[in-house]
């Protein structure tokens, strides 16, 4: 398993629009990328679940995945979480 921890810096948090970008990116990968935040988990491929995590500015998020492309996928999603606004 590969994992990474990042902090959300976007002023308004990861809202619908950036979350949609994230989901579209996550769907490019074969492996499932999980996002964990404040005790809740969601697949990065599911906007439905992702929305309920509460990805506000300042919260810490753990991103993890298993499988062949895990490292690549986690790095990409983590990067987006840190840069999207």
């Amino acid at each position: 398993m590969y994992e990474k921890t990042v902090t959300i810096v976007a002023q308004h948090g990861i809202h619908t629009r950036p979350a949609a970008v994230l989901v579209k990116e996550a769907k490019q990968f074969d492996c499932d990328v999980m996002v964990e935040c404040q005790g809740k988990q969601a697949s990065a491929k599911s906007l439905f679940k992702l929305q309920t995590l509460g990805l506000y500015k300042g919260v810490t998020v753990r991103v993890f995945a298993e499988g062949a492309s895990a490292e690549l996928a986690v790095n990409k999603i983590a990067e987006l979480l840190e840069t999207l606004s």
């Binding site: 629009r17 439905f48 506000y56």
Partner: protein
Amino acid sequence: MELKGIAVSTGIAQGTSVLFEPFDNSLDYRLLPLYLVPGEQRKAFDAIRQLCTQLEDSLAQQTEGSDTYALIEADLLLLQDTELQQQIHSSIRDLQLSATAAVDRVFLHQASELAALDDPLMAQRSNDVVSLGRRIINVINGAGGKLLNNLPDDSILLAEDLTPSEFAQLPLDRIKGIVLKTGGLTSHTAILARAAGIPALLSCGFEFAEISNGMPVIIDAYAGRLHINPDATTTADLTTKQLHNEQRRQALSKYRDIECSTQDHHRIQLMANITSLNDVARLAQFGIDGIGLFRTEFLLMDATRVPDEKAQFTQYYNAIHLLAGKTITIRTLDIGADKEFACLPNKQQEDNPALGIRGIRYSLKHKALLRSQLRAVLRVAEFGSVRLMFPMVTQAEELDELLAEVAICQQQLQQEGKKFGELQLGIVVETPAAVLNLASMLPKLDFISIGSNDLAQYTLAADRTNLALAADYPAFCPAVLQLINMTVQTAKQAGVSCSLCGEMASDSRIAPILVGMGLEELSINPAAIPEVKALLCEGNYQQFCDLARQALACKRISELESLLVSCKLPS
């Protein structure tokens, strides 16, 4: 049957009724026998797929990157979400719920989770989730779904209400007219219908029970009438009227590609008022000199969050690109009065919002928002001829503060090493105070634009959204004309260019009078351009000046009205 309504645009539309009926959101709560489970699961799945197809069609009509596009795209991602589909499937199977009850359960649960997040933006999104669920239920019940596809080519849409985002998704090439039971002249949907040049009636008291799909209907937006199943005489009369108007429109098209100059070679800058990028794209067919008013607050409409500097820059940049060298006049966000936006923090309730924190009064209290817009406009000015104007400036102190903000933004950009261009700066003159204080502000301005709608409202102390006052307090009245004249003369003396951007200038009978008063630029509704341009081109400036003198001498509204009737301009 003939019904009255408020016409928000002109024209006659004949066509076939299409009812946008209130949704059928009824839920089937019976315990599902197990053998029906697969059938209900398929129903839910089919409805979701049908809605996806619909949304994909709508998406194809939107500009990528726009707020409407992003909203539709997010709805699509939700519908395609396997997690969501699984939850619906298992609710049907494990709880033996009908398709409608299962969808309702899953979406309400999701909405309550979003609402529980301590975040106003997400709470707003939770309403969107509920309405998406309702749309699926609606499709399962067979009530809608087909609506936006397979419309007849001459559809006349009849609805209880249309939200601006629903309006944005309409296939406008097939919709000839719109009739709503609700709404007023200044509602957002009214403004959108007017800009699209579609005959529309609002506040029209039809009953869904009395009309069915496919009935012949005629909208006469000149008279503010809806004719349902009109008799032969009415149809013939209105067809003649429509034909006449169509011929007139054809005749007017010859003015499209020529300059707007009178017969005696007096050049008038004819500009357009717009609310979105889509409007800019449509302007090519009209032949204009530029954009005289870009109402940027409409960028916030339907937005889930306030567009940041980058998003604003993109919008303005695209507009400039489409305008190919013509001037664009960007008005800073005019928030307040009758315009409220979900993505902004809730404004404090005011007893008199039109006299409250609106226009730059709001902007100066929310400087981060103001600066993001100023920076975007400054940066985009590098790429074209850009004018920036501030709404609701009434006194010199406000102007000083605004100009200081512009200077701060220029300094910031310089320090960050970002390029920016030269701007022309102006204000909207829309209060009597602005007219009276004008001389002290003009030395710092490159141009001014008279906002005649609000100038009339504030001069006459008559709420422009109050329909009971509309007839007795017209904007075209002696008091407002005197103020416009004062403004034009004061600007002339100071050598500052002066425009007018209110509804008044869209009236082809009034536009010549305004030109005669000395206005060198008019900014009007795109749909009114052909008519106004033709009248100005066919007339004589000297004749317009005479008309203006006569108008300014009128002491009563009735005298002005008879002047409009008597002065038959060539047509």
